[in-house]
């Protein structure tokens, strides 16, 4: 185990505490850090208040990052100090865990806003209402077969009487905090001392998913914590002596990895991959040879095989639709990358529709450079005499997790592919587990190196550089993740998942629910569908090439709606309602899609106008539809399918009625 040198040894190398830690000094220090944390939280609140009234303003970013830096950097500095005790470090890390949830909590304190959150809200509602798992899910159908998160949330709702959103928030918050504790446990099991292990957790917090994506009410938020704890238990099972201790950690690994398999597909596949990589490392005699290493390797392979069997078995018998759900992403990404390499495609332009300022973009590139620098320093440090553990479990684990961490750098190439960007970004939550261990090794060493500079100027400069690199990682990691429309509140933004929810949309969905009840099948666009299929409790169509609902919208006035096969599917599927967002005819969506990612790519004309412009009024003339609701931006049509042969009066005849208001 890599243990911190004791203070006497440090004194011998020249490191001595510069100030005696008197109680008064300690209190002053504690109060300063606490004041920074409070001021940081206030700055974040200020940034969100600014963001509410502007589409995007640089001030909101400045306040936000000033707040985050004030809140986190002092705590990180205290964690990085040698003098800080292990228990105090754990407590400070817990504070970071809770406070780093603030950006997401303030973003949507009262209701879901992100795409997957609506889906999980509805899935949880269905479990509570029906008392059954595996009911067909809306918005993201595959989540029905991965009930881990929404089943646990439903139980909390049933037992506590909290709302679904409150229960989900508590569960995800606890997962978020437990994630950091899991990284510490994993790093400790790999062989890092408490300081480096806590720094590894801090470094993990710089990955693109940590602040927003993995804090949403979504199955991945729970499963990423389960992955980390599965790996921690796995590493503990490798490192503890054989016997009851190892059996205990093997049991926990099995339980956690099975829990992961019932919660989320992709992260469990990634978990199995990481475990296999580590198992390979544990089977390399050059790295792992020590007493009983063969037994340890067998344990590792058995646990990896179980995890693999768990997810393969779950997909095969419980969630076969997962293959169809995941495979297009990988296939298309590889195809696009091949095209980019061959020069037949220019690839994806990064930050093309981003609302964030230029310096966030720079930091997003910078985080890769910073990570590379720290990882390289970590590897070099390991190669120095005394820095390299002897062959055995520790070295093999370190080798395995270093390999996982280094996978981050080639994975960044996929970010240039339209289809691969999402998968690449999501893989970082896993690869950063290994990367954080590597960077923490060098981080702890660099802090010591900087604090040993004899000249105050050199010391301050070295610490300044380290602080700047940390701040770059903090800003850039998040900037490389979700766009500003997800991160900050603001006015309505057409075609943005997180800024499409308006009181008008909510009122329309509630009007429909109150008037017609739940469970009606309807056709609508992506952004209206999120609200209608969740709080509206309706069942929205999942468009595809075989079910091209966009053809209803694209038909020109005077032309028949079609194709006929679409009406067959609509009639046989009992689709009775069409909800139209009138802005589809005037606005281009921020995300670039109107319905789903598989829609044709020509919905925006070269002049920047949507193809739907001037094509929505036709619905009022379609005789097998009647418009039953119209608000400023939404129209609801009832469809009478299959279309009858009803004949309509066209010539003038005397027909006089009466309007009565308020009676």
């Amino acid at each position: 185990m890599i243990v911190e040198p004791r203070s006497e040894a440090l004194d011998a190398t020249g490191w001595t505490p510069r100030h005696a830690a008197t109680p008064e000094r300690r209190w002053r220090f504690t109060l300063t850090v606490a004041a920074c944390a409070v001021a940081g939280m206030a700055a974040i609140v200020k940034s969100y208040l600014i963001a509410q009234t502007t589409v995007s303003d640089e001030a909101e970013f400045i306040w936000f990052w000033a707040g985050m830096s004030l809140m986190e950097l002092p705590l990180i500095a205290v964690i990085a100090r040698r003098r800080t005790g292990a228990a105090a470090r754990s407590a400070l890390l817990l504070i970071i865990g809770f406070t780093s949830y603030a950006p997401k909590l303030l973003r949507d304190p009262g209701a879901p806003l992100y795409h997957d959150e609506y889906a999980h809200w509805r899935a949880t509602y269905d479990i509570i209402a029906n008392g059954r798992l595996f009911e067909p899910a809306q918005i993201v159908p595959v989540i029905a077969r991965y009930p881990g998160l929404h089943a646990a949330t439903a139980v909390i709702v049933d037992v506590t009487g909290l709302s679904i959103w409150q229960a989900g928030t508590i569960l995800v918050l606890l997962c978020h905090v437990a994630l950091l504790a899991g990284i510490v446990t994993l790093a400790r099991a790999i062989g890092l001392d408490s300081r480096a292990a806590t720094l590894a957790a801090v470094a993990y917090g710089f990955n693109a998913s940590f602040l927003y994506f993995d804090t949403q009410f979504s199955y991945e938020s729970m499963s990423i914590t389960l992955v980390v704890w599965s790996l921690a238990a796995f590493a503990q099972a490798i490192r503890v002596p054989s016997g009851p201790h190892r059996s205990a950690w093997c049991c926990l690994t099995v339980m956690l990895s099975f829990g992961c398999a019932i919660t989320h597909h992709l992260t469990t596949i990634e978990l199995a991959a990481v475990m296999l990589i580590v198992s390979v490392a544990l089977s390399l005699p050059r790295a792992a040879r020590s007493d009983g290493w063969r037994g340890t390797a067998v344990t590792a392979w058995l646990l990896s095989a179980f995890t693999l069997a768990a997810i393969v078995g779950w997909i095969t018998f419980m969630a076969p639709a997962t293959v169809a759900y995941l495979s297009p992403y990988l296939g298309t990404a590889l195809h696009q990358l091949t095209q980019m390499v061959s020069g037949s495609s220019s690839g994806r332009q990064l930050f093309s529709a981003s609302l964030s300022p230029w310096w966030e973009h720079v930091a997003a590139f910078g985080v890769t450079v910073v990570a590379l620098a720290f990882a390289a320093a970590g590897l070099l440090r390991r190669r120095r005499p005394g820095g390299r553990p002897a062959a055995g479990r520790e070295r093999a684990l370190l080798l395995g997790f270093a390999a996982v961490g280094l996978a981050y750098f080639p994975s960044t190439v996929f970010i240039f592919s339209q289809a691969g960007a999402e998968g690449s970004r999501r893989s970082w939550a896993i690869s950063w587990i290994g990367l954080s261990v590597l960077t923490a090794l060098s981080g702890a060493w660099l802090v010591d190196w900087a604090s040993l500079r004899r000249r105050a100027v050199a010391r301050a400069a070295a610490m300044g550089v380290l602080t700047a690199m940390t701040a770059t990682a903090l800003v850039g990691g998040t900037a490389a993740g979700l766009d500003a429309s997800y991160r900050f509140p603001g006015p309505y933004l057409y075609g943005s998942d997180a800024r499409s929810d308006t009181p008008e949309l909510n009122a329309m969905a509630q009007w429909f629910l109150a008037r017609f009840g739940p469970g009606h099948r309807m056709v609508t666009d992506r952004y209206t569908g999120l609200e209608v299929a969740s709080f509206g409790l309706q069942d929205t169509a999942m468009p595809s090439a075989a079910f091209p609902i966009w053809d209803l919208y694209t038909a020109e006035p005077g032309q028949p709606l079609g194709p006929p096969l679409l009406f067959t599917v609509l009639a046989e599927g009992h689709y009775r309602y069409l909800v139209v967002d009138k802005r589809i005819a005037t606005d281009v969506p921020l995300l670039g899609i109107y319905f789903e990612g598989n829609e044709p790519g020509d919905f925006v004309r070269p002049d920047g106008q949507p193809i739907f412009s001037g094509r929505l009024a036709k619905f009022n003339g379609v005789l097998w539809m009647s418009e039953i609701f119209e608000s400023d931006n939404y129209a609801v049509y009832r469809m009478y399918l299959p279309a009858g042969r009803q004949r309509y009066q066209v010539l003038p005849v005397p027909l006089h009625g009466k309007l009565t208001v308020g009676e």
Binding site: V38, M41, A86, A87, A88, S90, L94, I95, F98, T99, L105, P109, R132, P147, A151, A152, D158, V159, T160, I170, L171, A178, T185, S194, M222, T225, L226, W229, A232, Q236, R239, V240, P241, H245, A248, L252, M255, L256, G259, I262, P389, E504, A507, E627, E630, R645, R647, Y648, Q649, V650, L651, P652, V653, L655, H656, G657, K658, L659, V661, E663
Partner: protein, 306 residues
């Protein structure tokens, strides 16, 4: 000579010390979860129930697996939370396999049984002597985590302090944000049918029909509207009823009706209600429509088209 009373008392205390019987205490806490049903559902009940629900099953699992002493306080707490969350999901799976409806009560009973089994296993582990460790462990074997800077027992209090401080900061931020002024939401208005759900063209009897609808105005101030009813044919709108002007005050819903007699002939008629805002240079307009026809219409004026 018998022991003095205080000795007997001390003896009974020793018999149920926390380190020797903590699984039983946790089981009792979980069993007491049923009592929280007496507290009104919501945050008050959650404060009592969540720590038990998301702590006890996991802690007992760690006890049963004899892994409690292998991690520090923070890791123990975090792992207990994750294992408890998993047990909630596993309990619903067990109920699903048993074809039992998932509810608060059924999950509670299922988890209580699980906790009883885990408690028995954990108590058994406590009673067993710790296995003899090899005299000299291999160099790369992790024994127990070494806590530096604080005694392990103090580590738990540090963790509690960290949780409280983090929660306080987070709650403070959320409260500050909630209490700050927020921009007023954008207003809107709508027009919608409000009667019985029509399934196709509405049949009108000899006495005619009254179609109810509603106008909802979700804006702060009053607005004047013009309400018109027409029927359309051959691309032209024909007046159906005398238009009405109405003034709707802020945040109000107005109910209205359109009464029409039985239409002549066997054709269906497309009737259209239009609401137009009065006043602004670019007035907003809303419309809804429906098809009606005589319930037993025959012959009548010519001019039907499909």
């Amino acid at each position: 000579m018998s022991d003095p009373p205080y000795r007997r008392h001390q003896g009974s205390r020793l018999r149920y010390r926390w380190p020797d019987a903590w699984p039983c205490y946790l089981l009792a806490a979980f069993a007491a979860l049923a009592l929280t049903a007496l507290v009104p559902g919501g945050p008050a009940r959650a404060v009592l129930a969540v720590p038990v629900l998301l702590g006890v099953p996991g802690a007992l699992t760690l006890g049963a697996a004899q892994a409690r002493r292998s991690v520090d306080a923070t890791a123990f707490g975090a792992l207990a939370v994750m294992l408890s969350a998993l047990w909630l999901a596993f309990a619903t799976l067990i109920l699903t396999v048993g074809k039992v409806r998932i509810s608060g009560a059924s999950v509670y009973v299922c988890l209580l049984l699980v906790c009883c089994a885990l408690t028995a296993a954990a108590q058994r582990q406590l009673r067993r002597r710790p296995p003899a460790e090899p005299a000299v462990l291999p160099a790369d074997v992790l024994s127990v985590p070494d806590e530096t800077g604080a005694a392990p027992k103090r580590g738990a209090w540090y963790a509690v302090g960290g949780v409280l401080a983090g929660t306080a900061l987070l709650a403070g931020g959320a409260l500050a944000y909630a209490s700050a002024p927020h921009p007023a939401p954008a207003g809107y208005a709508w027009l919608a049918w409000s009667g019985a759900k029509a399934n196709g063209v509405i049949a009108v009897g000899a006495q005619g029909i009254t179609l109810p609808f509603e106008i909802t105005h979700r804006e702060p101030g009053p607005t004047e509207y013009r309400l018109a009813a027409t029927w359309t044919g051959d691309g032209q709108a024909h007046a159906l009823a005398a238009p009405r002007t109405l003034r709707v005050s802020g945040d109000k819903t107005v109910r209205a009706t359109l009464s029409i007699p039985q239409p002549p002939g066997a054709c269906a008629y497309r009737i259209v209600l239009t609401l137009t805002e009065l006043g602004p240079a670019h007035p907003r307009s809303w419309s809804i429509n429906a098809g009606v026809r005589a319930s037993r219409g025959t012959g009548g004026p010519a001019g039907c088209a499909s």
